[in-house]
Symmetry: C2
Subunit: 307 residues, 2 copies
């Protein structure tokens, strides 16, 4: 993505939820914090590239990208609450609920969500009428009890579920893959992608979502390891689902490689059908670099552990 | 409203958020509790009568009514949380967060919200295209930082605001009036009401919303009074905004009567323009009965206090 596009995205993230002058000062401060402290914005970049790849107008692409990123941001605000993951820090600063109370975090998240539905509806309204109901039903399904909320509820009650790879991957499909599907599939639906293209994008979202989750799980285990080779991961101490704890580091790396390879097959087929989506190969390349780093750490880890 | 319509509404409230079979059992139990334990459904009855008064199809009227009631229900789940009003009971049973934890209440509320946006979007999509963007912008404004969330944030930080009638009424306008506006105005926008009708409905929502709030405040003060005439209201002990505590019982009754009279003027004008909305007079009559009971309690109270 070009720099001017990234700058446009940064501005749009901050400006797409205008705060009224008379807004209660507590909520205003919390929301200002949230709106000026965005993450890497990789997800909304993909949304924009996809939407533009399907020749949707720039305004539509921006509304979709920011709307989905608002949903993602709101999910982080809820995730971090004491009644959920009980986190205290996010993106190097104190969590919103630490600074503004649980109620400040909840009201900020609801403000993002309310605006997100509006932005996405506004974007959809400018697309082909036939695609609108499909797109909005897709959104409802993957954000709601069919996707994200189901995954989050399983995640919170992991200890009462049968432990193992299958449960951990079901949770990842609910949480990580749902948002990945919205990122990759929603703009394509509105852009009039063919059934086959949508099928391939849905598969890529599944493989990439699971890959990202395993990479995260590996990082949790590897970056927290002590020199003794004994894992001291945060997920382990909190009893959270983690594929690298379940399969071991080697098993998790193998599974990650397998998902990436399956994704590659889908990307190749998709780019043949729709050459405008060639940028997906660059995103895949970034994932590959991360994989190399992880594999190296894993080797060092294994060597360290056996020495 | 006829009984068969009320039954239809009860069923629709329970059935409009289908729960997938595989849904995590914790979330499923919490949501089943919420969906089978609705309130009086007076608000969605008004939505239905208005939508049908403007000759919208029955399916559209039902989606609007249930969608708005889901928003209302979600707002109660959030309000009751320990970090907000810290309530333990609602509608004669333990609050959802008491039974299913804060996270269970939050995820249930988000499921209702996600479905509500979809139902309302689905209803809007069947109405005149010109009215759709107006309706969805109206929804976004009154649910978001321009309405409900602003009111809730002020309510939570009442102790840091200048106390008095003006602040208490600003909070009521944010919380109670915003939902009343959606109830009265949203179906009318989608039904193609004229600018003058919308103006009158907005005014009725303002006066009725404030009336309901004052009636609630009076109940809090009167029903908790001891024989000594000394108020022992819940709002007083929690330091919550309450018009009857600020103006005294007599002052609050007078203000309530004034708002009802102002509402009456608007209802008369509106029914002349749009005779289909004559049912609003019956709703006003119910409010009147409540007022008589409250005024009688207030008199007894005053006599009791001075004796």
């Amino acid at each position: 993505m070009f720099d001017y596009q990234k700058n446009r995205l940064r501005r749009a993230f901050t400006d797409s939820l205008p705060l009224p002058e008379h807004l209660d000062s507590h909520l205003k401060q919390a929301l200002t914090r949230v709106l000026t402290n965005h993450g890497s914005l990789i997800r909304p970049e993909i949304v924009m590239d996809l939407a533009l790849g399907y020749e949707l107008p720039l305004g539509v692409a921006t509304d979709l990208a920011v709307g989905l990123e608002y949903f993602h941001t709101a999910s982080l605000l809820f995730d971090d609450l004491p009644s959920m993951d009980d986190a205290v820090e996010r993106r190097g600063t104190p969590c919103v609920h630490v600074e503004f109370g649980d109620s400040g975090a909840i009201l900020s998240a609801l403000a993002l969500i309310n605006r997100a539905y509006f932005l996405i509806w506004r974007a959809a309204a400018q697309c082909s009428p036939a695609n609108q109901p499909v797109a909005l039903a897709y959104l409802e399904h993957h954000l709601g009890v069919g996707g994200l909320l189901h995954g989050q509820s399983m995640d919170l009650h992991y200890e009462s579920l049968p432990r193992g790879r299958e449960t951990a991957e079901q949770i990842a499909i609910g949480k990580t893959v749902s948002l990945m599907r919205l990122t990759l599939v929603l703009p394509a639906i509105l852009g009039g992608a063919s059934a086959q293209e949508l099928h391939l994008l849905n598969r890529i979202a599944l493989f990439w979502g699971l890959s990202y989750q395993i990479a995260d799980d590996l990082k949790d285990v590897l970056q927290n390891s002590t020199e003794s080779g004994k894992t001291s991961s945060r997920d382990y101490s909190l009893g959270r689902p983690n594929i690298a704890l379940i399969l071991g580091v080697d098993g998790a790396v193998q599974r990650l490689q397998r998902f990436i390879a399956m994704g590659d097959t889908m990307v190749r087929k998709l780019v043949t059908l729709q050459p405008n989506l060639r940028f997906l190969e660059a995103i895949r390349a970034d994932l590959g670099k991360e994989l190399i780093i992880l594999t190296q750490s894993a080797c060092t880890e294994t060597v360290g552990a056996s020495s």
